[in-house]
Amino acid sequence: MIREVAWRVFAGEYNDSSYVYTEGGERAPSYVVTPLGARINRLLVVGVITEVENIATEEEPMWRARLEDSTGTFYISAGQYQPEAAQQLAKLEPPVFAAVMGKSRVYSPEEGTIYVSIRPEMVTKVSEDLRDFWVLEACKNLRERITAMKEAQQMDPLTKEGLIALGYKERLADGIVRAKQHYLDLEVDKYSGMLIDALRYLLPEFREQADVKEETVDEEKEDKETDVLKLIESLDKNGKGASWEDILKGAKKAGIKKDELEEIANELLDKGLVYEPVLGRMKKI
């Protein structure tokens, strides 16, 4: 069987995925399809590992880690079936630049909700230069998907063959057609913005500006953060953390949209005010 390619994709796009499919047959591979049509069975990501934690026992460890790129967080978990990767994860001392290659994994607590993560095959410490190299590769690939998706939006009817005729490879054409059918109100512009931000991240002339932006804290946002933090605390009835679905419902009542909530939740995670005891639950620290 031909080895699956390792996609270079940003966390911001990967985590937006809500579509997974299997190509029939018992041992057939499964794929996570991102909103821009990356059809991912394996991925290679590079960023900063900010946390590594054994959430199980010493005898049968289950290692969880967070890897941040400039657009978001990849969730990584390795257990007894990934002994080499687990061992390598255990050796890392965050924060550290690292490359992780692994298989796409999906956790679906209920129908319609999915969380994606990575089951690592390879974990290794890398240099900042390699991180930059990866960001550039991921940008090139993201740009191709954005262009392909924009063309797909113009095509009527949209077919794989039509995209291939435009010069796209089968692998991407197939993913684009699937994504277009699944993600009904896709906003490509969001990813165009992500691309431009990621490119600026590589350039020294934009670095200062980014720092300044972070310093001008929006007061309204700070208020909402406090609200969400209180919400998480109040929903944590059994000490195992509040479930994401409950947080989502509560936030909706308080007039906070899903996109905004995700941003706030990330902010709280970054600030170390909350953490995720398991994927899909949040707990106040």
Binding site: I2, R3, M122, L130, E137, E170
Partner: protein, 439 residues
């Protein structure tokens, strides 16, 4: 091909996959391979079976081919042909005498030698027209050979079933090097000869000089063989009409002979120096093509596989020893060697890359003797592989060499390699300017 024509092949694939995949899905895949990628039916079927985890040996319905379309190492072919000649022969197999038949088959496109290994109940005479099912092909000295084994069936056909042999190019297919695929006939192309050598081969019992080498156009390089003396020289620009493609482990090779129209032309064409550079190719394209001569791939090295580092080889056959024993020659005194079996992924696909001793020593910055001492001290050969993994995994790398294909994917025997330093800022700035220019 339409749905009706491919139906028996869809059935065949489905059976080879133990009915685990639906007919619709297989039909869709097969149409994709045949119509979008124009892969020959036989390779398409095998690729699909492999893709779903099956064994292509389970395929039973052969692909009926013209003789000129035969490629070496086809496991199952069906033919409609005339027996041009047939002779009995006695050979020795494991010390026992065995009777076989050999001869030549012909149709309207070509004549090809055959050997029948099971002659019981086999009746074939010169001039017969026969339908052959489940034969297989091999290559012998650059020529395709048809073999009849114990799965092969041969039945008589009426003489009108096979049109007479008509030499000369049939349909003309204009092509660039990057487009060449197994089984193509009637190929028309213009190339420059980069290297050339003469060699002697036996064809149908006679000595014959053939001329082979490497040719190129702006899309890449390929091997060629001229079965006739055209007075070729290195550097010549050739226009060939009526060539045909054979592949060796996925590497396409252009063949041309009396039936082709071959001219040395004086036209604008990329220079020797331009063509000698090894073009960078996406791994995805190499997988589609099957193989290529002198190719460059750039990607991230993601795995240093088992069997890398310090290894010991059999002094007789060069096979790698396992537990001090050769698979063929048993326990032997092994000879030390160094190599790397790596996986390189460029974001479009993955390739296995094999680095020999010289390159491995260069990466390690250590001689083999030092590695042997290291292994002794650590009491395991794995220290060398561990060193290589620490040094190479997750490095951006550029490798150059020939690419071949087998059932497990594509593989490069690396000729030269270099860890890359990439100008990230410059490219990022260009892309950003480009994008912001658009808005």
């Amino acid at each position: 091909m339409d749905r009706e024509q491919i139906a028996p092949h869809v059935e065949d694939i489905k059976r080879a996959l133990d009915d685990k995949v639906s007919e619709d899905q297989i039909a869709g895949e097969l149409e994709n391979y045949l119509n979008v990628y124009r892969v020959p039916l036989d390779s398409a079927k095998r690729s699909i079976v492999r893709k779903y985890g099956g064994n292509p040996a389970g395929l039973q319905v052969g692909v009926q081919k013209k003789l000129a379309e035969l490629a070496p190492n086809e496991p199952s072919v069906s033919l409609l042909a005339r027996v041009v000649s047939v002779n009995p022969k006695e050979i020795q197999v494991n010390g026992n005498a065995k009777n076989i038949l050999y001869g030549i088959l012909g149709d309207d496109t070509a004549t090809v030698p055959f050997t029948a290994w099971e002659v019981e109940n086999l009746e074939m005479e010169k001039g017969d027209t026969v339908r052959v099912e489940n034969a297989y092909t091999k290559e012998y000295r650059g020529q395709v050979q048809i073999n009849f084994g114990n799965r092969t069936t041969i039945s008589p056909e009426s003489p009108e079933a096979v049109p007479p042999f008509t030499p000369g190019p049939a349909t003309v297919r204009p092509a660039k090097v990057a487009d060449l695929r197994e089984g193509f006939g009637g190929v028309s192309m213009t190339v420059r000869i980069l290297s050339l050598e003469e060699r002697e081969v036996m064809v149908e019992g006679n000595k014959k000089m053939v001329y082979s080498g490497v040719m190129a156009d702006e899309t890449g390089k390929a091997q060629f063989t001229a079965w006739k003396d055209y007075g070729l020289k290195e550097g010549d620009v050739l226009k060939i009409e009526g060539g045909y493609i054979r592949t060796w482990r996925g590497i396409p090779q252009l063949n041309f002979d009396e039936r082709a129209e071959v001219n040395i032309v004086d036209e604008d064409f990329p220079s020797m120096d331009d063509l000698k550079t090894s073009p960078r190719i996406w791994i995805e394209d190499l997988i589609e093509r099957g193989g290529a001569v002198d190719t460059t791939v750039r990607g991230i090295l993601v795995d240093v596989k088992e069997g890398s580092g310090l290894i010991y080889r059999c002094p007789e056959c060069r096979r790698v020893l396992r537990k001090n024993a050769c698979r063929i020659h048993g326990e032997v005194e092994g000879e030390a060697d160094l190599r790397i079996k790596a996986v390189i992924d460029d974001g479009s696909g993955a390739i296995t890359a094999i680095f020999g001793r010289e390159l491995t020593e260069k990466f390690l910055n250590k001689s083999m003797d030092v590695c042997i001492d290291m292994a002794k001290e650590a009491m395991t050969h794995e220290v060398v592989r561990d060193d290589l993994a620490d040094m190479l995994i997750a490095q951006p790398i550029e490798v150059q060499g020939n690419v071949t294909r087998d059932d497990f994917g594509i593989m490069m025997i690396v000729n030269s390699a270099e860890v890359l330093k990439i100008e990230v800022e410059k490219e990022a700035r260009e892309m950003l300017d480009d994008l912001e220019g658009l808005t």
